[in-house]
């Protein structure tokens, strides 16, 4: 099943294949392409904010378009498809089945992504990834806004199809000898996140339709001029997208559950607590959506309920962290590149979580709402935890996909630069938020503290940009000319840590 790139085949054979590893490879390549596209926009945004006043971007409208497409791309076209790539590759192998449950549906789910990406990028909407009403209804320029809505609609359908496939594959297609309690934690993470998708996405699907009909002028659900309520959209949006945070983070934690025991040369400390924490996160993820709306005039009781609901995720998240630390304890740890990314991801996950606790306390939320604190907080999750876990896993799966080894020194340079850059950008943005700088602004007053903090953040972003160039060079060069490796033990850990042995699903 492995060595997709070592045995060259015509590209159309891969493109029209329904085999899970081929679809996984397509997901992987497309997600990485969008990572670099979205990352380029991030660099432009940070370059613009290096100093007050217009720098490299012509006007505020263009700036708005750039951060809208940046956020939409990296969340919907990089993180989610990357998780699907990993799931496609490894979930069938982990549950010992020949393929995904519905291979054609799987290929269809992937092939919805390129047209959706094209709609989002060709439209280049300007109303933020939240599609802020009533602006998005009344005055956001079309057809960009409509293209974004259709793009998101298609991506939602793709996610639901993928989720159905993962759930059926894990629950119904696992080997008869394998109980659900023996399914690896990575597969559990896909089961949990897929269940969240099935419950959460339909709400946003409905909201998108309502937004579209509002834009067409045939309804007024969120249009105050027609008696509608933009806050209703906020509820519908966050009912989907707070749980979606867990859809993003749970697979990344699942990937860390694969990496950390292998490189610690020990089994995971507590399989049961990992499963328990995944299931708990997928439930409590639905009890916290309104913490994004403390400032909208909710009652004190509502705010308290959602604050406690949000904090309920803390113990579950902490269980994962403690599980990782206990696994490393008494291990004999090899700090190859995947392990460095995983451990860095744990540290940043904890930091992001600590900031989130502060955010969720409603009196504090009023101080930080819509400031750069929030930007720093969620980027620390998205970049520091999810991207770190994902990139670590990419290095981990690289030998199995290509049959070659990546350049270890370049992988470590990539990690060190990314870690330093991430801390510089996103920790600084927390402080910038406390200084009161609002998010989503093109220009800012020349306050010395704001300028200094923005410059630190921009330098950090450039460091991440350099690290990503190293990453790209490493991936391209090593895929073609890397040292051929022993796919049974590419990291030289010894022993029989599992999946290469089961990785024998022939193409069909």
């Amino acid at each position: 099943m492995v060595l997709e790139l070592q045995k060259p085949r015509p590209i159309w054979q891969i493109m029209f294949s329904t085999h899970h590893t081929d679809v996984g490879l397509l997901y992987l390549i497309s997600s990485l392409a969008f990572l670099f596209l979205g990352g380029t926009l991030a660099l432009a945004i940070r370059a613009e904010l290096f100093l007050p006043g217009a720098q490299i971007i012509a006007d505020a409208m263009t700036f708005n378009r750039m951060f809208t497409v940046h956020g939409t791309t990296l969340i919907f076209l990089f993180i989610i498809p990357f998780a699907s790539a990993v799931g496609n590759y490894f979930v069938p192998i982990m549950v010992r089945y020949k393929d995904m449950a519905y291979p054609k549906l799987n290929a269809i789910a992937f092939w919805m992504i390129p047209p959706a990406g094209a709609l989002i990028w060709l439209g280049f909407a300007d109303f933020t990834w939240y599609a802020t009403p009533p602006y998005s209804i009344i005055s956001a320029p079309g057809p960009a806004a409509d293209m974004w809505i259709f793009g998101l609609k298609i991506l939602g359908i793709s996610s639901v199809l993928g989720a159905i496939n993962f759930i059926v594959t894990i629950l119904k297609c696992k080997h008869p000898d394998m109980s659900i309690g023996q399914v690896p934690l990575l597969a559990w993470s896909f089961l949990s996140s897929s269940l969240i998708i099935l419950v959460a996405i339909p709400t946003f699907a409905a909201a998108l339709l309502m937004l579209l009909t509002d834009r067409l002028g045939v309804s007024g659900f969120f249009n105050p001029a027609l008696g509608g309520d933009p806050i209703a959209y906020a509820h519908l949006f966050w009912f989907t997208f707070h749980p979606e945070v867990y859809v993003l983070v749970i697979p990344a934690i699942g990937m860390m559950y694969e990496i950390i025991p292998r490189f610690s040369r020990k089994p995971i400390f507590s399989y049961g607590s990992g499963v328990f924490a995944f299931v708990l996160l997928s439930i409590v993820g639905f009890s916290s959506w309104a913490h994004h709306m403390y400032a909208t005039g909710m009652s004190f009781t509502e705010k308290t309920v959602f604050m406690v609901g949000t904090l309920a995720a803390v113990p579950a998240s902490a269980m994962h962290v403690f599980n990782f630390l206990a696994t490393m304890w008494n291990g004999r740890i090899r700090f190859s590149t995947p392990m460095m990314w995983a451990v860095g991801g744990i540290a940043l996950f904890f930091s992001a979580g600590a900031g989130g606790v502060v955010n969720s306390a409603m009196p504090l939320d009023f101080s930080t709402h819509d400031t750069y604190w929030v930007v720093g907080h969620f980027h620390l999750f998205v970049m520091g935890t999810i991207a770190f876990g994902s990139i670590g896993y990419l290095y981990y799966m690289f030998p199995y996909v290509t049959g070659r080894m990546y350049n270890e020194a370049m992988g470590k340079i990539h990690f060190i630069l990314s870690f330093v850059g991430t801390v510089l950008v996103f920790f600084t943005q927390h402080v910038l938020g406390l200084y009161g700088m609002p998010r989503r602004i093109f220009d800012y007053p020349p306050i010395p503290e704001w300028i200094a903090m923005n410059q630190i953040a921009s330098v950090g972003a450039m460091i991440i940009g350099v690290s990503m160039a190293v990453f790209l060079a490493n991936m391209i060069h090593s895929s073609a000319k890397g040292t051929p490796t022993d796919t049974d033990d590419p990291f030289g850990l010894g022993g029989k840590y599992y999946y290469p042995f089961e990785a024998r699903n022939p193409h069909h």
Binding site: K266, P267, F322, R332, V357
Partner: protein
Amino acid sequence: MKGMLGLFLLLAVVVIVPVAEYAFAAGDEPGEYVDRRVLIWNLFFRMMTVAFTVGAVVSGTIIWLILRFRESNPKAKPTPYEKEGVW
């Protein structure tokens, strides 16, 4: 399983109860005078004290684990699972 649930309950009590208590300090009952700005910043500093303390402990533990259990540490020894060859 019991230990796991115990750990979870302990974490829930340690984290949720104090913060819920803070929330009620916001006090928006009519007639009550609260200087919200002072209150919020006081709360912020208290929470950040907790966050930094816990953060320092966890970060310190991570750093110690990295240094102590790295395979190049002279004290490193094979895990029992390595001897069995399967983990």
